[in-house]
């Protein structure tokens, strides 16, 4: 069962499995019947519907009768991305969320600069609070000059 879920990639960031992303919140197995609870990363993330159908399809292919539903609470946090997932993100060129994410910067407060996933320099700057998917922001490394995506801390 877990082996099957480990093979289902995130549709937007395919280096991450759904287990790495921390969106699988509940799994109960009774014989061949599986119930999976999935939490969305962002309320409006269009990938959520794709994730649910991918999970159902992968489980069906493995011979299970799958039922997938939403889990709203507790809300997803970027702290749920596994350490292995963070390493995969870095290798893929996306700065992973920093830990701990518990403390949220005040509205006008400068956030901590993320480390460049290529050269690890902390001399980085924010280009855009919003990026190509709801979960990412766009930064630039002032040391190696490369722009990079960063997983937002949520």
């Amino acid at each position: 069962m877990w082996a099957v879920l480990r093979t289902v990639p995130d549709p937007e960031i395919p280096v991450l499995s759904l287990l790495d992303l921390g969106v699988i919140r509940e799994v109960s197995v009774q014989g061949r019947h599986v119930v999976v609870g999935i939490t969305p990363t962002y309320s409006g993330c269009p990938a959520t519907a794709v994730i649910k159908s991918d999970v159902a399809a992968a489980l069906q292919l493995a011979g299970y009768v799958a039922q997938v539903h939403d889990v709203l609470s507790p809300p997803w946090s970027s702290a749920w991305i596994t350490l292995e997932g963070c390493e995969k993100l870095r290798a893929y060129g996306i700065a992973p969320p920093e830990f701990p994410v518990g403390r949220v910067a005040a509205l006008l407060e400068e956030a901590v600069a993320p480390a460049c996933p290529r050269c690890a320099s902390r001399q980085t700057e924010l280009l855009s609070e919003f990026g190509s998917t709801p979960c990412k922001a766009l930064h630039r490394c002032c040391a190696c000059q490369e722009p990079f995506d960063r997983f937002k801390c949520l």
Binding site: S43, G44, L72, V104, L107
Partner: protein, 258 residues
């Protein structure tokens, strides 16, 4: 666990949840009009992403309203098949985008209000509403960072940018009053701990707004007596035009899907 114990409470809560949902949907629609028209691609992305989060929040709220109502209405029914006189959004959400400065002022005011409101709603005695609020509040906080950051840059920017956001603030401020004009429905729900008291939300909103206006070198306009009441379906002339566009595809092709 759940605050809904009587049919009357269910009706009141349905109305309240629709107010929240309609504000999210209408503002999402307004912001999406910036896609392809933003002053820079980053601002295109910013407006589009905030719009998407708001749409997601609206969907969660509409789904809950449908369950509370118990008449089988879906998210799409609420969004596409109601008339202007059925919508209960805060009036400010439906106002035109204007220039980017006006959009930012509108967004910042709404973000700060919704941030305070949803933070307090996480303590609701209605568990589902508290859960939706807990999800949304994380997103709204990020939106508030974006809009308040821009308000400070524009307010404390050039003479031109300062003038534009100062004018927009004076234009938009009268629409803030509606949020803090408590009506019987809000009072009844607040007494049962389902929603926060309007006074508590107002205090939190003012406390968040003051340092941002200071940093933006803007002056808080004085209050006016007139009250808009979008939350009681008394709208400005702008909502019907917005809905005509939002609903046209679904009305021409009922049940259309991608």
């Amino acid at each position: 666990m759940n605050a809904v114990t009587t049919p009357a409470t269910a009706r009141e809560l349905t109305t309240y949840v629709l107010r929240l949902a309609d504000t999210s949907l209408v503002l999402a629609q307004r912001l999406s009009a910036w896609i392809g028209h933003g002053p820079a691609i980053e601002e295109d992305l910013g407006c589009a992403n905030i719009s998407l989060d708001l749409l997601g929040q609206a969907r969660l709220l509409y789904a809950y309203a449908g369950e509370l109502e118990g008449a089988g209405r879906t998210e799409d029914d609420f969004a596409y098949l109601r008339e202007e006189c059925d919508f209960l959004n805060a009036t400010m959400a439906e106002l035109p985008n204007g220039d980017f400065g006006q959009t930012i002022v509108r967004q910042c005011l709404l973000d700060l209000w919704r941030l305070e409101l949803f933070e307090q709603l996480t303590q609701s005695t209605d568990m589902r509403l508290a859960q939706i609020a807990a999800k949304a509040v994380k997103e709204i906080r990020y939106h508030g960072r974006y809009s308040s950051g821009w308000l400070v840059r524009l307010g404390d920017g050039t003479d031109e940018s300062h003038q534009r956001v100062a004018t927009a603030l004076v234009m938009l401020w009268p629409y803030v009053a509606e949020w803090f004009a408590e009506d019987a429905l809000e009072q009844a729900l607040a007494e049962r701990g389902v929603v926060p008291s309007v006074a508590a939300v107002q205090a939190g909103f003012e406390a968040r707004l003051a340092p941002i206006l200071r940093a933006a070198t803007l002056t808080r306009p004085s209050n006016v007596d007139y009250r808009w009441f979008g939350k009681r379906a008394q709208h400005s002339e702008h909502l019907s035009h917005l809905l005509a566009e939002l609903q046209s595809l679904h009305r021409a092709h009922p049940g259309a899907q991608w």
